[in-house]
């Protein structure tokens, strides 16, 4: 078990991960299922950044993104036995789990957001975007990124997830179809509508001249 994990690390160090990512993930999953803790640790290290970014772009909140990322890995750990490589890559499967959790989270917190928006009768873009974000994250985002992030959180969840997966995670259309579990025509339509709507929101915010 440990020997298999060693070879995965060696291949990664040698710089051949681009072609072998799927294969390595599959091997690591196999080792995890056989009880190898270091293989699970390696899987967590490989995918934390990507999962955290999906969660952050969807929620626009660092604390929520951190909590959701933990929840994603907890669920993946519990349901790892149900993963089959025939369904697609491990990363796609993880993205699908993440997406389901994000939608659940969105529905769960919808009532809170409506209350918040009623309390903030005159929402200010700058204040809203910095809410719940730590100073180091604020520094990481440039002004434009902040505005695009703010605009993203104003999209409907269906359009938002499609745009995040396509334009921020650079997934192909067929991968997005697998993650969202919808026909490819629906994927195309959501990505298109999401982009047009996002451009319109940015124009209303004054980021782009109309």
């Amino acid at each position: 078990m440990a020997q298999g994990n060693f070879w995965v690390k060696l291949v990664t160090v040698a710089g051949f991960e681009a072609d072998d990512t799927l294969e390595q993930d599959a091997q690591l999953v196999q080792h995890c299922l056989q009880g190898d803790g270091s293989a699970w640790e390696e899987l967590v290290r490989r995918h934390t950044r990507r999962i955290f970014n999906i969660c952050y772009r969807f929620t626009g909140n660092g604390t929520e993104a951190e909590d959701l990322s933990q929840e994603v890995f907890l669920r993946v750990y519990k349901t790892l036995g149900s993963y089959r490589s025939a369904y697609g890559g491990f990363a796609t499967w993880m993205s699908s789990v993440t997406r389901n959790l994000l939608i659940d989270h969105y529905r769960r917190t919808k009532r809170d957001r409506i209350t918040d928006s009623l309390e903030d009768a005159m929402p200010v873009v700058e204040n809203k975007e910095s809410a719940g974000r730590r100073p180091d994250q604020q520094l990481l985002l440039g002004e434009l990124s902040s505005q695009v992030q703010t605009a993203l959180t104003k999209l409907s969840p269906e359009l938002r997830e499609a745009v995040i997966l396509r334009d921020l995670q650079q997934l192909e259309y067929n991968e997005i179809r697998q993650v969202l579990d919808v026909p490819e025509g629906t994927v195309k339509s959501r990505i298109n509508r999401g982009r047009i709507e996002l451009a319109r929101i940015l124009q209303q915010m004054g980021v782009r001249p109309s």
């Binding site: 967590v44 950044r49 951190e66 745009v163």
Partner: protein, 235 residues
């Protein structure tokens, strides 16, 4: 193939992602080039894609991986016994630590030397603030005196060399070396020059006297240099 504004809006992302057929792409381009309504739409979404793709991936908080591992496989194993107690020492073997340690040691050695503390025979009195201050003051004055003396020596040596060079550059033709009667001086005058001797010889005698005076005043390096010059250059 005819193309409408509705088609442009519906298939804009396919166009931008390169999913249209060549015929569809041509029709799209032809329509957008001629349609005032569609140009801003295509431009705004194109800019949006540029903005989205320029957004960098954020780094997750450092404690996130540890939290995930703690929640899934539990806290990681830690070494016990002697290995665990001295495990932190393994970090000292890194090149960065060695480089820092050498830098600190060199800095400390310079500071101790400047403050006059002897490491061979350390005394408790050396570490009293008053003694350190006095010692630093003494060292600073000594350094200043040595520097001043060195510059002064250099200046003397430079003057000697300039004089010798000037002397070598004098013309030695018979006309110029013939004894001339100085208009303001008469033979047997009180200065030490001999009117009947050549001018070069008079000048050499003068330099020799100056060098002897300098050699008595300036010790060490300049003295030895003056001595050598006297032996070699002046007959």
């Amino acid at each position: 193939m005819t193309w409408t504004c509705e088609q442009t809006e519906a298939r804009l992302s396919e166009y931008l992602d390169g999913l249209l057929t060549p015929d569809e792409r041509y029709a799209f381009d032809m329509h957008v080039n001629a349609c005032e309504h569609c140009v801003p739409l295509v431009a705004s979404v194109s800019h949006l894609l540029t903005d989205l793709r320029s957004m960098e991936q954020l780094e997750p908080p450092p404690q996130l991986i540890t939290s995930i591992l703690n929640q899934t496989i539990g806290p990681r194993k830690t070494s016990k016994g002697w290995r665990g107690a001295f495990g932190w020492l393994s970090g000292l073997a890194s090149p960065r630590f060695a480089y820092s340690a050498v830098s600190i040691a060199a800095s400390m050695a310079i500071l101790l030397a400047a403050s006059g503390i002897s490491l061979r025979k350390p005394k408790l009195a050396d570490f009293y603030p008053g003694n350190i201050a006095r010692s630093v003051d003494r060292q600073a004055h000594l350094a200043y005196a040595h520097t001043t003396k060195f510059v002064s020596d250099l200046r003397v040596v430079y003057e000697i060399q300039s004089r010798l060079n000037q002397d070598n550059n004098l013309p030695t033709t018979p006309e110029t070396t013939m004894p001339q009667t100085a208009p303001g001086k008469s033979p047997g005058s009180t200065d030490s020059t001999r009117p009947d001797a050549p001018r070069q010889q008079n000048r050499a005698n003068g330099i020799r006297r100056e060098l002897e005076v300098l050699a008595t005043e300036v010790p060490s390096a300049s003295v030895s240099l003056c001595g050598r010059l006297l032996k070699r250059r002046i007959p």
